[in-house]
Symmetry: C2
Subunit: 350 residues, 2 copies
């Protein structure tokens, strides 16, 4: 392609391991995006790499930016046309938003209504705890998926960090054997505990920082865990490692989300290698399953400074891929205090 | 659970690495299944392990079988109830059959119609080539997914073995830069070539046995491959290895299917470890994406003998999970003649 050194110039400007394919993803995203938020939501490229990508595209006269508006220039469009690239024709199913899980029938339609009602007064997400919760539809779809996979009914469920309120949604359904929630935020712990008490839901919630070892009574005690990890490499291994420590053994399952916004495919690759080494197999990997409600602290995110974005996002832009793993060859999972780092140049919302 | 040695007894009778979770999957499947074919389609357990599983369940008085009909006995139901297990509530989206890909809008609705028309006279699947093709909806959904992921428009597509006719479907759409099909079956090669000629489709098809090295002009020459491997461990590595040899480099993508019928999760795990070691990351893993049309040689399958099944399956029962991988750290992929084996105790349809 023309502008042969464009990619190399971007590489010089960022520690994030992007590829030429990421450059393509931004260009193709620009065919559809009208604003920076659109682009971020469309293009599956680490947010931390977007500023240099956009700068160099502008420098080469391929992109025009006015405030938060972005568009390809005629030569940008020409370049894409010469490659034969087209905007991805969105064949995503409109009924299930591409999740493959329908909430239109019993018992999920009713569960969604009840869940929306009880979560109305939930605490707002806090940046200091890396919070940011998914839509009610996402939470209920996740419960439906756990159930379809045989990981909920009659099973012991461990929820590691629960600003998505998966524990409450599962408890409303009432088919799990036990539900245990670990959560670091005292406000959220209070909300979950009080809601469970008021509605007489079978759910235990404990205030717990996942950097501390798992309480001994929770080791090897669960059939299923679900978590939404901090996306530094160490942070991910911490959250997943705690989940693995909690699993009873062969055939136990774990669910976790991973974004393209804060994790490059190189990081995905390292993490998958680690997951496989832990004796787990990936049975599901569902692109954009998790959709996040825009959080109030968007103005304080470092990605906002990087991109110099002016206005709040109007639509959902932050999404993650949902993974399911199953243990086939359990290892000894150390249950030590966390000595790693939550910092990572790819993190964007901190 | 009661019948504590049941699982161990099954393990003694089969070389297939099943787990206690597989026993659970069969029991829960039996809550819904009315026939052997139902059960096979529902329960995600290696077919080769089903006969000893069913035998031991019968021996313990948990299962009744009359010809092809199977049902739980009262004590079988009791056992499941005591565990709190329930039949998986099928939340699968009815519009997209859980694929997340909708074919109801342009251009896919029309593509599906045209594809159904041209594939009407296709050659029947042959057991000696391990054939068995997917429904037209599956083929078109796969094309739609490639496209959504940016792996089709303007890209060079390599199809390794094509009884699913993905090459023709993609050529009908007409957005790929090039399409190259390698196929071992001369009848299928003739059909694809003749159809492409008649409809003036841009598609090259070569008669080629994947056990032979990839032709030199196809090495590192493609952006995307798709294949439906033979499911022995060696067979899978052969097909995927040929695909990887064909990929141009970082950012290139590959698609492949893997069943739960002929591959245990232990085999999945070994394969995923290998995939990750090849420098590829898994970006999608879509349960039951591929649905296969029942093939005429079902009576000759060894699984039929194992299960002593009497009647032909009436509905779709054979499905596979669709994987997408993307190269992040390409290795040197050897392009040697195949010295492995297509034989494997888990294979059921040969």
């Amino acid at each position: 392609m023309a502008h042969a050194d464009l990619y190399e110039r971007v590489r010089q400007k960022t520690p994030v391991p992007i590829t030429e394919r990421d450059l393509e993803r931004v260009l193709v995203g620009l065919l559809q995006a009208e604003s920076l938020w659109d682009l971020v939501g469309l293009c599956d490229v680490p947010l931390a790499a977007l500023p240099p990508l956009l700068e160099e595209l502008q420098r080469d006269g391929l992109l025009e930016r006015r405030g938060d508006r972005v568009s390809l220039t005629p030569s940008g469009k020409q370049l894409i046309e010469a490659q034969g690239w087209a905007p991805p024709v969105e064949s995503r199913c409109s009924r299930c938003r591409g999740r493959g899980v329908s909430l239109e029938e019993a018992p999920y339609r009713e569960l969604l209504e009840r869940f929306q009602e009880i979560s109305r007064d939930r605490p707002a997400p806090r940046q200091d705890f890396d919070q940011g919760y998914v839509t009610p539809e996402t939470t209920v779809a996740r419960v439906a998926l756990l159930r379809r996979r045989g990981d909920l009914d009659g099973k012991r469920l461990l929820v590691l960090g629960d600003d998505d309120l998966v524990g409450l949604a599962a408890a409303l359904l009432g088919t799990a054997r036990t539900i245990t929630v670990l959560e670091v935020d005292p406000d959220l712990v209070g909300f979950i505990r009080e809601t469970a008490r008021r509605l007489e839901l079978a759910l235990e919630v404990r205030e717990h920082d996942l950097r501390d070892p798992l309480p001994p009574d929770l080791l090897k005690a669960f059939d299923t865990f679900t978590t939404d990890p901090v996306e530094s490499y160490d942070g991910c291994r911490l959250f997943l490692g705690r989940g693995l420590s909690g699993l009873a053994g062969i055939g136990s399952a774990g669910y976790f989300g991973l974004t393209r916004h804060e994790a490059s495919l190189a990081k995905w690759h390292r993490l998958q290698r680690w997951v496989v080494e832990q004796g787990a197999v990936i049975t599901d990997c569902l692109d954009r399953f998790n959709e996040y409600v825009n959080w109030p602290y968007w103005g304080e995110m470092r990605a906002r400074r990087w991109l110099a974005v002016e206005a709040a996002p109007q639509a959902i832009w932050y999404r993650s891929t949902l993974f399911r793993l199953e243990l086939v060859e359990p290892k000894a999972y150390p249950n030590e205090p966390f000595a790693g780092s939550f910092e990572d140049p790819e993190l964007a919302t901190t």
